[in-house]
Symmetry: C2
Subunit: 383 residues, 2 copies
C-alpha cells in the first residue's frame, strides 16, 4: 500500500484536531492547569487519530468542507480518549502510547475526572454546530453521538459480564457482535455517518456505508487482537500481553479453547478464572528481599519464609507468567492466530468490496484515496 | 418546618422519575441484564431525588406542565447518579445510601461502565425535547447541561488538585468557590434553570434565580460537611467519616487548622498528607495472626516480626483511627463545627431572602410551597 500518503494524511488531520482542541479549551485560569492541560496528554502522544481522519476524509470526499467537519472530528477524538482513560483504569494498564497511563501519573480520581471533563467539553462543539452547519444537521449529529455512546457502553457491558461470569461459551459470532457494539460504532460507523451528514450526502448512501463500516470494524478489531497476541508471543511483556492477562475474549483464544484436549481446556479455564495481578503482586521484590534477609540473619526459619510466601500468593492468586505462557502455547499449537487472521481477512475483503461500491463513483481526491487506503491499513497494519 | 408535605412532594417526584427512567430503558435483551438493570441500583435506594424535584417544582410553580419537565428531570438524576458512582470509586467508599457501593457489588470496571451508560442515555431525552418542547428550548437546555457538566468537572479538578498537592492554604472563599462549581451548578443552578426554560419563564428571572441557587448551594454543601463531621464524632465509622479520611477541605477543618497551635497544626498536616487506608490495610488481621503464630512456633523471632510489621505499615502509611480521632478533637476544641454552621446559616438567610424576592409574587401552589420549604430543609436537615 502507498503508506506514505496514508500516514501523512493521518498526520495532517491529527495536527488540525489537536490545534482545534487547543482553541476550544481555556489556556489560563486555575482549571487550565488542574484539568485542561491533562486533556492533551494522550492526544499529544504517538496517536493515529484514525477516527477524526475518517470523519474528515468522508466529509471531504463527498464534497464537504474541512472547517465544517473539524469540530465534530474533535468530538470523536475526545470520546475516544475518554474511553481510553476509562479502559486503562478498568484494566489496570500501566502503559498507553509509549508513556505511563494517566491514572499512573495522577492517580485514578484525577484521571477519571479528566475523562468526565472530556465528555462534558465534547457537548460544546456539537451545540455550536447549530450555527456552523444548521440546526437539522447539528441535531442529526447529536443523535449519532448519543447512539454511539450507548452502543459502546452496551458492548463494554457485554464483555465485562462475560469476564465477571467466567463465561467462555461464546461462538465467533457472539464475539463479533460484541466488538461491533464496543468498537465499530464509535470507530467507524459514527465517524463516517457524521462526515456524510456534514457534507449533506444523500440518505441513500447510508445502507452501503453501514455495510462498509461494519466489515471494517470487525477486520480492525480482529487485527488488533492478533497483533496483541503476536507482540505478546515475542516479548511476554505484561503491557503488551494485555488481552490474555485481562482474560478478554478473542477469536484466537475461543478457537484454542475449542481445539484443546479436555484436560488442557480445564487447565486453561482455571487460569482464565484468575484475575490479572495488581502492581503490588507483580513487583513483590521488596518483600521477597526482606524475607531472604530475615532468613540469613536467623530471625526467620525456612519453613516460616515458605509459609509467608504462600500466604502472599494465596492472598493474590493472580495469573502468573507461567499461566500466560501456557495459554500462548495452546494458541500457537492449534494455529489459532492464523485462524483469527483468516477471519479478519474475510471481513477485510468484504470491506474492500463495500468500499468499491460506495466510493468508486466519486471523483479522484486525496480524501477518496485515503478512504481506500484505510481498508488496506486495517488488515496489514503492524501496530 | 412542615416537613411532611415537603417529603411527600420529594417522594412523588422520585416515583415519577424512576418510572420515567424505566420507560426509557429497554427491559429485555442482553443489555437489560448486563447494563440497564444496574442503573436502577442507586435510584431505587433511599434517595431524596432533590434535583429532579427542584426542576419539576420550578417548572410547575412558573406555570409549566409536569410532562414537559419530567424527561429533563430524569437527565439530572442520571448525571447525579453517574457522579455518585465516580465519586465512590475515586474515594474508595464502601457504602452508599445504606447499601454496598456499585463497584463493591460488581467491581470498578462494570460500575464505571454503568456511569458511562448513564451519561450516554441522558442525551436521548435531551434530544427528544426538540419534539416535546421546541428546538429552541431543547437547545437551551442542552447548553445548560453542557455548562453544568463542565463546571462540575472543574470544581472536582480543583478539589483533587488540592488533595494531590497536599495544599491546605485555602481561605473560606476558595472553598466556597470550589463547592459552587462542584456542587451548586448541577444541584441547584441547572435544575432551576431547566425548570424555568421548560416553563417559558422570562429571561429577567435569571439573575435572581442565580442568586438563590448560589446561596442555597453553599448552605447545602456546608450542611453536608457538618453533618458528616457530626455523624463521625458520634460513630467513628469509616464510611460516615469519609471527609476526614479522604482529606477533603471543609470550612470546619480549615478553621481548626487556622486555630491550632503550631505543633498541633504540624501534626494535623502530617496526618492529612497520609492517604486513606485501602480495604486491605483496614483489615490486616489475617497477616497479623499469621505473624503471631510463627513467633509462637519459633519460626520467627520477635525482632523479625517487628521488622515485618514495620515493613507493612511503611508500605501502607495510611491514616489510622487515632489520626482521625486527633483531627476530630482539634475540630471540636476550636468550635469549628459551630463556626461552619454559622456560615452555613448566613448563606441560608441569603437564600431565604432571595427566595422571597423570586417566588412570593407567584400564586399559591404546592410547588411554590415546596420551593420555600427547600430553603428550610437545606439548613435544618439531619441527613
Amino acid at each position: 500500500m502507498r503508506s506514505e500518503a496514508f500516514y501523512s494524511y493521518l498526520d495532517e488531520c491529527r495536527t488540525l484536531v489537536v490545534s482545534e482542541l487547543q482553541n476550544m479549551l481555556p489556556r489560563s485560569g486555575a482549571a487550565a492547569q488542574t484539568l485542561y492541560e491533562l486533556m492533551y496528554e494522550y492526544p499529544l502522544r504517538d496517536a493515529k487519530a484514525l477516527r477524526p481522519a475518517l470523519c474528515i476524509a468522508t466529509c471531504r470526499a463527498l464534497g464537504g468542507a474541512l472547517e465544517s467537519a473539524l469540530p465534530s472530528a474533535v468530538v470523536l477524538e475526545l470520546y475516544h480518549n475518554a474511553f481510553l482513560i476509562h479502559d486503562d483504569i478498568e484494566d489496570g494498564s500501566e502503559v498507553r502510547r509509549g508513556g505511563p497511563t494517566l491514572h499512573r501519573m495522577y492517580g485514578a480520581p484525577i484521571a477519571l475526572n479528566v475523562a468526565d471533563a472530556m465528555l462534558a467539553v465534547a457537548l460544546e462543539p456539537l451545540l455550536a454546530n447549530t450555527e456552523l452547519l444548521c440546526v437539522a444537521k447539528a441535531l442529526h449529529i447529536l443523535q449519532v453521538v448519543a447512539r454511539m455512546a450507548r452502543e459502546s457502553a452496551e458492548g463494554q457491558a457485554q464483555e465485562l459480564a462475560w469476564i465477571r461470569q467466567a463465561d467462555w461459551s461464546q461462538r465467533d459470532l457472539d464475539y463479533v457482535r460484541m466488538a461491533h457494539k464496543k468498537t465499530t460504532h464509535y470507530s467507524f460507523l459514527a465517524p463516517m455517518a457524521i462526515g456524510a451528514i456534514v457534507a449533506g450526502a444523500p440518505h441513500s448512501l447510508r445502507y452501503r456505508m453501514t455495510l462498509l463500516a461494519t466489515a471494517l470494524g470487525a477486520a480492525f478489531q480482529i487485527r488488533d487482537d492478533t497483533l496483541n497476541l503476536e507482540a505478546n508471543a515475542a516479548a511476554y511483556d505484561k503491557d503488551l500481553a494485555g488481552d490474555i492477562w485481562e482474560g478478554k475474549r478473542t477469536l484466537a483464544l475461543l478457537h484454542a479453547l475449542r481445539c484443546a484436549t479436555p484436560s488442557d481446556r480445564e487447565r486453561a479455564l482455571a487460569i482464565l478464572r484468575k484475575p490479572r495481578p495488581t502492581s503490588a503482586e507483580a513487583a513483590p521484590d521488596a518483600t521477597a528481599r526482606l524475607l531472604a534477609e530475615l532468613v540469613r540473619s536467623g530471625d526467620l526459619s525456612e519453613t516460616g519464609a515458605a509459609t509467608l510466601r504462600e500466604h502472599w500468593t494465596v492472598a493474590g492468586a493472580a495469573k502468573t507468567r507461567e499461566d500466560v505462557d501456557f495459554l500462548l502455547q495452546l494458541i500457537q499449537r492449534s494455529g489459532s492466530i492464523e485462524y483469527a487472521r483468516a477471519i479478519g481477512r474475510r471481513y477485510a475483503a468484504r470491506a474492500k468490496h463495500a468500499a468499491e461500491r460506495l466510493w468508486s463513483g466519486l471523483s479522484d481526491s486525496v480524501h477518496k484515496r485515503f478512504l481506500f487506503q484505510l481498508t488496506e491499513f486495517v488488515v496489514e497494519r503492524e501496530h
